[in-house]
Symmetry: C2
Subunit: 355 residues, 2 copies
């Protein structure tokens, strides 16, 4: 995604900039730091679709009353291996971190634990939460419902499903976790948003317009429906992720789901589900890690296709991106940079560029 026209901004500066804005609009300092760390890490990892490109809408929702800046998560119901929590309509990144932290703490004795969440909001990149678990030597799961419906049931012509993302992360001996993070459409809607902001076309199989026909126009695509991976399989998968994310807690699903970008003064009641499996409850950690080393080696050392220099593990490119962006700065598209800089002006904050 990095192009010549991108503006480079340092991690620390971008973090301080966003944190100050959140504080200015009423988010407690500690909470603001948790949210912005999560958000900026997506950009560091090159997952631009879930990074600061979303920051303006999060700010707008707080200003418009749709999101609670001073949220306090409550546990509604709890057993030794389950919990249902109410996110108090807080920023999804904060609620997500607190709910996954609860799952990790509850699993300290070695249990498999799942925590279902209601009254939350868009939580950014699903991988952020599963990596928290992996750092505790647990396999982590996260599921969330998309913050807009823009997929149809298979055979339908009405958006009743979000492009619901999920993630699974595994502890490894590498410097990074192996982490799957995918949505159920062929491409994440966030990527269509980035393309629309940058005025770039999208591949033909990413979306249909409002008429249900394929389009390469990112702006038209945002008015239509995203196309599920593998047709009916993708429908079944996104329905499954949506049900997992909402039915255990009572978060909104289907016709109740609002629109992150349109209904900015209304609470979204987004749902998530977080789960952890502590590796050491199944086998000793070293035996597991030995097997993981071998699995990684099998992938890396497989015969390569013509012109392929290196085979990556899921999560590895993102980690390499993080190292590079930490050193060289985070690339922001010109229009995103301008949007953030303008947002800063309203707070008498300057967004400085490295290059």
């Amino acid at each position: 995604m990095t192009t010549e026209n991108d503006v480079l901004v340092s991690e620390n500066h971008l973090t301080a900039f966003c944190t100050q804005i959140l504080e200015n609009i009423g988010v407690p300092s500690d909470d603001a730091r948790i949210v912005v760390k999560n958000l900026v890490e997506a950009d560091l990892r090159g997952v631009y679709s879930h990074g600061v490109v979303r920051f303006p809408i999060y700010v707008k929702r707080i200003l418009d009353g749709g999101t609670n800046p001073k949220a306090s998560m409550k546990i509604l119901r709890e057993t030794r291996t389950t919990a249902v929590v109410d996110g108090d309509n807080g920023l999804g990144h904060l609620v997500g971190v607190q709910a996954m932290q609860l799952a990790i703490e509850k699993a300290a004795e070695g249990d498999c634990v799942f925590v279902a969440v209601k009254n939350s909001n868009h939580f950014g990149a699903a991988a952020y939460y599963t990596e928290m678990a992996a750092r505790h030597n647990m396999i982590g799961f996260s599921f969330t419902i998309g913050a807009i419906n823009h997929m149809t049931p298979w055979g339908g012509a009405e958006a009743m499903l979000g492009n619901n993302p999920f993630s699974v992360a595994f502890p490894t001996r590498e410097d990074f976790s192996i982490v799957l993070d995918m949505a159920c459409s062929i491409a994440a809607r966030g990527k269509i948003i980035v393309a629309a902001k940058e005025g770039k076309p999208i591949p033909e199989d990413w979306a249909t317009g409002p008429d249900g026909l394929p389009t390469t126009d990112a702006v038209e695509a945002l008015k239509g429906f995203v196309t599920p991976l593998g047709g009916p399989k993708g429908y079944a998968l996104t329905l499954t992720v949506g049900l997992l994310s909402t039915l255990l807690s009572g978060a909104f699903f289907g016709s109740d789901v609002g629109d992150l970008y349109e209904k900015t003064s209304t609470a979204q009641n987004s749902g998530h589900l977080f789960g952890v499996l502590p590796v050491a409850s199944f086998d000793d950690l070293d035996s597991y890690l030995d097997r993981m080393d071998k699995a990684i080696s099998d992938m890396r050392n497989a015969k390569k296709a013509t012109d392929v220099e290196r085979i990556y593990l899921p999560g590895e490119r993102e980690y390499l991106s993080l190292l590079k962006h930490r050193q060289q700065g985070i690339p922001l598209g010109q229009s995103l940079y301008r949007e953030l800089a303008e947002l800063g002006q309203a707070h008498a904050l300057r967004l400085s560029r490295i290059a």
Copy 2:
């Protein structure tokens, strides 16, 4: 898949036929019944790729010494919410049912429970196990590693991954569970096997031949690689399902994985992971079921695309197929019917057709 040339066989007759053959080759009666019920249910549900089309290879593996007909599953390690079991190289359908049953029993007090399995074999349709959980008002998960490597790591030209299937099932008030059951390729390899047996071509995006180029020849496709859903996403997904299925128990992964069809005298050491989340530990069952009713209604009553008469839920078509096949008989392709009938002759058993 039903065509004019299909042979219809009754559920009861096909069940008795297969059960008798398994008993003849040393499988205890009770175990044979569990395996064949599972296998025939796939055909009833119209999931022909995981039904009796696989029966001849299961029989051959027992006869050749690759699968243990008198297996006895052992629990190797156990906590209150986890277990690791050794399938004693038994038929995967038997091991799978016993391991999921263990998960359900352990979850009787309301815990989230996961059971990891090693030393198992090809277990058929992943949905069979998750539906067991759904009937106990638990959300069920099943993951398994494919019994042949025929997918490459992304950028690779060597099969290091199976087309690893997984399933999630949800309790409902309907006569069927909502159940996702998918593999990570665009099409299940079993469907390519069926096409090859029937001499039919396959769509261009299902597989590449041994040269890595797309092919519509099902026989060539079986010598090459299956294509993952959504490119690198599908690679990440199949790797994830494979790691979940094997790393917690020590089942074979990657370069260690054998070939269901080729190495018939060698144990496969296949792995699975089963999980259950008891709904009532999160919220009262009726509240959950009310929400599920509404979710189902949202899907069914969505505006339909042109020429679409009905929107189905995942698992609904399979249930309707089961009702129909139970009444009218199970359709078997001509060549599969001949193959099974010949197998029967070796056991002095006749496979009778309804039509």
